[in-house]
Symmetry: C3
Subunit: 445 residues, 3 copies
Amino acid sequence: MTQAKVTEDFLERLFDELFPICRSIAGEGFRRSLAIFQRNMPLELETVPTGTTVYDWRVPPEWNIRSAKLTGPDGRVITNFESSTLAVVSYSEPVDRRISLAELKPHLHSLPAHPEAIPYVTSYYQRTWGFCLPDRELRALKEGEYHAYIDSTFSEDGGVQFGQCVLTGESSNEILLTSYLCHPSLANNELSGPLVLLGLFDRVSRWPRRRFTYRFLLNPETIGALCYLHCYADHLREKLVSGIVLTCVGGPSEKLSYKMSRRGDSLVDRTVQYLRANEGSPIEIRPFDPRGGSDERQYCSPGFNLPVGQLARTVYGQYAAYHNSMDTKEFMGIGRLVRSIDEIEQILRAMEAGSHYINLKPYGEPQLGPRGLYPNVNSAATWTKSNDALIDAREFLNRLLMVLSYSDGEHDMMDIAKRCGCKLNGLSGVVKQLESAGLLAHKGF
Amino acid sequence: MTQAKVTEDFLERLFDELFPICRSIAGEGFRRSLAIFQRNMPLELETVPTGTTVYDWRVPPEWNIRSAKLTGPDGRVITNFESSTLAVVSYSEPVDRRISLAELKPHLHSLPAHPEAIPYVTSYYQRTWGFCLPDRELRALKEGEYHAYIDSTFSEDGGVQFGQCVLTGESSNEILLTSYLCHPSLANNELSGPLVLLGLFDRVSRWPRRRFTYRFLLNPETIGALCYLHCYADHLREKLVSGIVLTCVGGPSEKLSYKMSRRGDSLVDRTVQYLRANEGSPIEIRPFDPRGGSDERQYCSPGFNLPVGQLARTVYGQYAAYHNSMDTKEFMGIGRLVRSIDEIEQILRAMEAGSHYINLKPYGEPQLGPRGLYPNVNSAATWTKSNDALIDAREFLNRLLMVLSYSDGEHDMMDIAKRCGCKLNGLSGVVKQLESAGLLAHKGF
Amino acid sequence: MTQAKVTEDFLERLFDELFPICRSIAGEGFRRSLAIFQRNMPLELETVPTGTTVYDWRVPPEWNIRSAKLTGPDGRVITNFESSTLAVVSYSEPVDRRISLAELKPHLHSLPAHPEAIPYVTSYYQRTWGFCLPDRELRALKEGEYHAYIDSTFSEDGGVQFGQCVLTGESSNEILLTSYLCHPSLANNELSGPLVLLGLFDRVSRWPRRRFTYRFLLNPETIGALCYLHCYADHLREKLVSGIVLTCVGGPSEKLSYKMSRRGDSLVDRTVQYLRANEGSPIEIRPFDPRGGSDERQYCSPGFNLPVGQLARTVYGQYAAYHNSMDTKEFMGIGRLVRSIDEIEQILRAMEAGSHYINLKPYGEPQLGPRGLYPNVNSAATWTKSNDALIDAREFLNRLLMVLSYSDGEHDMMDIAKRCGCKLNGLSGVVKQLESAGLLAHKGF
């Protein structure tokens, strides 16, 4: 096995390459961004064509922009696309008009609460155009004739794209890891998710064994998840054990924050709750809430109700830089991404170790002596040598008996660890020996 | 829509007409009383003939009484039927005997604890005769020959009757409202129930829409409910969402008192619990108890176990006037009946609003923008205008998303109101708009 | 019915006859012991032949021992089989060797913590030999040549035996009572269980009626239970309502101690919990735990998961005399066995009285008046005479109505007693009258 390639330096180079691109939900920006990820993970791309009916939605045309400029009465350029991808409302229709300040004003967007920041504004499903600029600049605009110029195009020939790849495991049942790739130059609420996804792909690909199959998915938010469900809902219904949407996984917050799936009983829900309550893992837990969030809103809509939660660090809507030009690399922090990769990998490992295993000899207790799991001479004095480096022989046997008794398909290893009063890794030696002895197998779901 | 006709004056005129009638479980008194209600609601009558086997019971003969008199040794009339319908044990057999005080005593009933009151006594299923009188009078009786005279008849040609009518709603699933009409001149424990039932018929008939179908039923207590089940148990099993037995809904108590159904999970059970816990409604709740009560004992017997609770105000057995001549119009209070009608109508409205609705586009979130339910331009500044007079735009959208997410057939609107932190009427605007947009429908059960 | 024959004297004579026998899991000692019990209860014997595969196990050969002796360098007999059946490791292979102290030591077993006690040691499934002796004697052994002599034989022609008998009841569904008979001269952790089992057989055989069928089983521990399951698992799956393993039911502890079944919801589980919580019965409750115990480990293994708990008094592993020569008749106490018989009989009676009964007239309330269960004249004054010696008429009727309402197959009599606020025997009069009236029947499971 080679050294992990997704280092902090590697992530920073990728970030710097991705940040300037003007992404949107469909068009060149998304395609170029996905291609950069494709260099590092074997994403296969699929397109749902513009005009396709996807549940209650219609797949929109692609949008591309070449340039844009707002010029003042004095000929001064007030803002332009070259200075910031945020300067133009996403999905702005083309315009080349000379208009008064009064006519212009409804097309200008700013953030009075943060007068230096450029807000991020979209209008995907109703044709309009607009510019975004700092509130301080907007307030300084004088009466006169302005020139609004946006050179954008819509194409009905493209579609919404997504890219996915799979790391197969012992079970064909799947863990889905997904993030979105459709915001322009934003850091925590855009690039943090895909970069951490790439880091997790790198980590999981190096594991010596995988109990589950892992699926990695990048798509534009909302419409992309709907297009993905349009193509893969039946597959997910059959195979999905748990999914995690990654969003805003950088930023200053100390702890990861997990948002429960709507079902609240999936493996990832139980694992995060278990780690927090029983192993002291520093994770905040948010209840499921349909009123905000990312693509878990689609996966958890009542018709699907899939076991998908969401992980964030500095949560959307809870920080001033959310959806504006203050959401920079410095705010996000590349080091924070590595920390998120480390912590989420631990959650995935706990899901592997903490899921259901099955006692293969469930009728009566299996005979442990001939398998070297029980002292052949049963006397008070024989309980001295251990089969495990960490615990004494009696404790090893106790945990082994508990694992055999409760590996019935109803209780998972987290239940059993709680009954044993130990952590998950306090069962790993027992599980290993029982698997070697042919007495235990991972259930795979 | 015309003005409600069931006013306090109207109820008092009806009360005064009904009170003197000597009702029993079968006979002229019941028939005449039902005819008075039939003038004001389209009750259809059915009869289960005398002698019919109804579950473990046999329908008794009709009983009619023309006159009765108990005369003392000195020729003085001690009591007679003309002075009070309570003076004769209900279902007394005819008698015309001169007997000693010792022989007479087992046929006399009084209430030592309330020496001025005449008790209400019945003997439906075993032939006997008797007189009821104030204990003060009974104690003053002297030795000598008495003349007991009761001119009553039994008829095997009649039967037990009930009357019902239906107000159809959008769903064929039903709410049953029922009371009994078989006690003679008693107010709270007799006429309060049928009069409030009539008031509720009047109210519900004027609603602009009814989610459920409403069934109104009057019958003699116990044997009448059994006869009704004999005819309609299959219908109720198929259609009944919830039922409420009305009994003792007048009197001095400040609060309505709801007795849970045996199942404890019906719509009316949940609604009353919800209103009390979440909307501050002044309702007492009693657990289900088979040891006492009214016709819910039959509906909730283990073979049926129907979702029927009971509403009272001044509860049977908990007041001194229960089952005796102190239970008068003054004790009951006509104004109390109007108040009960008002409060029970609110419960019925909450059942309509709080029951299950279904998201008709449950696969992914529906597209709200084109339906005017979401701002087309998504920026921090667009959340200002509201689609609802009471709440701001963001709160309206939040409740709408909550309603869509949880209208899955498992959660009802009471669950959703709790999740939203609002009252049921805080969801009415959202529900109305979602129904108009074709995104939501009442589930009907 | 004759007087109970299992008196304290009777038990002591039996104990004295059984104690000296060298029992093991298969062989003459077991057979002779079982024959002694067979004199007093009609046990039918079955044998699973040596070599049979029983789940994960192979039935071992029979082991018999004629004599054994360990002689020191000076010719002194250090220990021999005649002095104690514990002196030889159970299932020791034959040996006749002169060896040094160093070679001998791995074959010697003692208890350093209790230097005067001889430990009880077994090696059923791996061939070896050994002697057990007080640690004080072991430490005093001097260098020199020792003579180890064990005259034992293994036979492949026998097998593992068990003996069972049945007391049929009204229902063919069964309560299993079982104990083990495979330890040599130990009292609390051996003979207490079979002797109490015999006492319970005697008691239950004298009951005027049995709601359930009772099965009594004696077998060698672990392998015997596995052999029994090998033959009867399907029968138990179909018929077993509850089982109780009896172990260590003597000794100084004041209270019986019940170990829950793995399911935790069986009739015996619920009864013991009910008696403790609601009737003040002095019983300790232990949770199910697969890490130790007796044959409930086999019955409750996840593939079977049968409703079998375990009763003990002075619990294995919690007293110094456990598995060594201090576990004597004096430690156990014959009087304690009688007390255990008394207390366990009370639990069995509570299981009969507290299980499920069925209302045979569940549609509406049955008519109670003609059956003498309700006063025919309904007035406040008629509630004076009672149908039960212990409670007044109204309370009797109240309990009767509660029993009728909740005898629906879902609630058992313990639930109903709690709802009535009385003990189980406070319902016995009601149950008796309802059964006589044809309104109630025991459900049988």
